[in-house]
Point group: C2
Chain length 335, copies 2
Amino acid sequence: MKIGELGEFGLISRIASGVAQGSGVITGIGDDAAVTALSPGMQLLTSTDMLVEEVHFRRLWHDPYRLGRKSLAVSISDIAAMGGIPRWALLSLAVPPETSIEVLDAFTHGFLDMAAEQGVALIGGDTCSSRAGLTISVTIMGEQVPERIIRRSGACPDDDIWVTGTLGDAALGLELLEKGALPSTSTTDEREHLISRLLDPLPRAAAGRALAEAGLVSAMIDVSDGLLADFGHIAEQSALGGTIRLDSIPLSPAFRTVLQSHPNPRHDLVLAGGEDYELAFTAPAANREKIVRLMKKCGIGATPVGIVTTLPEVTAVFADGSRYAPLNNGFNHFA
Amino acid sequence: MKIGELGEFGLISRIASGVAQGSGVITGIGDDAAVTALSPGMQLLTSTDMLVEEVHFRRLWHDPYRLGRKSLAVSISDIAAMGGIPRWALLSLAVPPETSIEVLDAFTHGFLDMAAEQGVALIGGDTCSSRAGLTISVTIMGEQVPERIIRRSGACPDDDIWVTGTLGDAALGLELLEKGALPSTSTTDEREHLISRLLDPLPRAAAGRALAEAGLVSAMIDVSDGLLADFGHIAEQSALGGTIRLDSIPLSPAFRTVLQSHPNPRHDLVLAGGEDYELAFTAPAANREKIVRLMKKCGIGATPVGIVTTLPEVTAVFADGSRYAPLNNGFNHFA
């Protein structure tokens, strides 16, 4: 059956039928607005992302289950970057009427699996017809006590610059797809690992929250447009700069293996590839050991990759001190 | 200049530059998530709407300023229907790169004018490129104390069914446009009044909030898909039914004038036309005078148009008691 035959209310019922009751949800899907209660003393964190077919994803590459997961994951990543606790989500879909129910079911399944993994409840949304491709809009709400919310503006001179996990994997995964590799559900080989980092990113919600609640970090952002551009936002909003040491940036074994025969080290993928969905943060040098221990508890690596400077300029340098000249400064959606 | 030349960050800056500081906004546009503080004792109300070019609006008819106003108005209408106080909004836009800056500026201007009129602050959003037409996604947040929030499920047998304002204007306005009338900015004639009800609806936020805070109503919804369908939701969620008296439904002078030479009374427009953005609510008969007085204070008419029944069926009847047979039951986005 096609979505066009199911109709708007059928589509909403179908999505709503899979939704679990969430904590703090007073009234979920089915009224004019959802009603939720923040935990006592918490402020509200809100972010929204729009994903457009053929701009953010291609259905040839992106199976609907993983697309559903990713649609929520990229929004949760924004709550993680504030040190927040993700709570509730709204999902809007503009769907071509000829879309099959199976595709929609797989998408919803993926979205709700990611929600369950991250403790997020789907509380509302909107559905409508689209003339050209699938458009997905997700709003995420989270919460945190005011004194633990981490902003981009809090970096201090001489703070370390950190990143979680490894950078460049998703960008290299995209390059593999563009060169004709096809995603599979197997994760046994390096190429599939890289493609999976692109198609099914895991938001660092537990890590971001733990760092904020331990009071260890001064500024934080999620790396969605590449480290140079995203740390650039921290630098700009903190009225500071920073030096990133290229040889300190953590790379995955898969990244190294796939690129081992490549003529150049592909710093562009690492610094400006985009879609890493890792966290970049700044912290006083005194917190180094505590941060590594805390991130280990969260099951994720974290690596100091540079230092915050008073000179308001962001540079990346090689081990010999020479400067990296960027090819570009992150992803421009309109380029 | 075109949006494609301005780029994503230029577009965000351009929108953000017009945004006024809002109450309860701790951190607005410019971080990974917005930070807001609910008023003490309030619960959070959230709703989201997606508007797709050529599905929800046509740019031939809809000047960008009024489209900006309407994009926010339809979401505020959902908060009004809960008896809530609208507070903050998120705006996401997928924009064709060839769109001119002037169009975007006019859209933003309209959105922010509506926001200012309704006490809403724009706190975040997303922008990206679209391959086919403009897509707009708005999330609205509001608040209200728990005991004053009005749901669809609260209707009681023998309650009056009420509507604010007049019904059918927007649907007749759409018919005029479809038959070749063109919108103008003049509001001097009846046709333009009807078209304006479609293109620039005014959400009944003050009325919805006042009714809820006075404790006068048992259930409420906004009329976006036509009274039959929307009162149908109240009936369904209250496990009741209702009888709507066709001759009681308030019609505007413009509606009557334009249709005076029409061979039939066009009950379809009134009952199932959609996009009225009035409020339909239920209330004990004892509250009649208080409701009329309160709505007068809010500058809007309110009319009892029927009665809630224990028989779980919604019907519309003529003055002689005969039943109206609906042509359709509201707007299906996928039809």
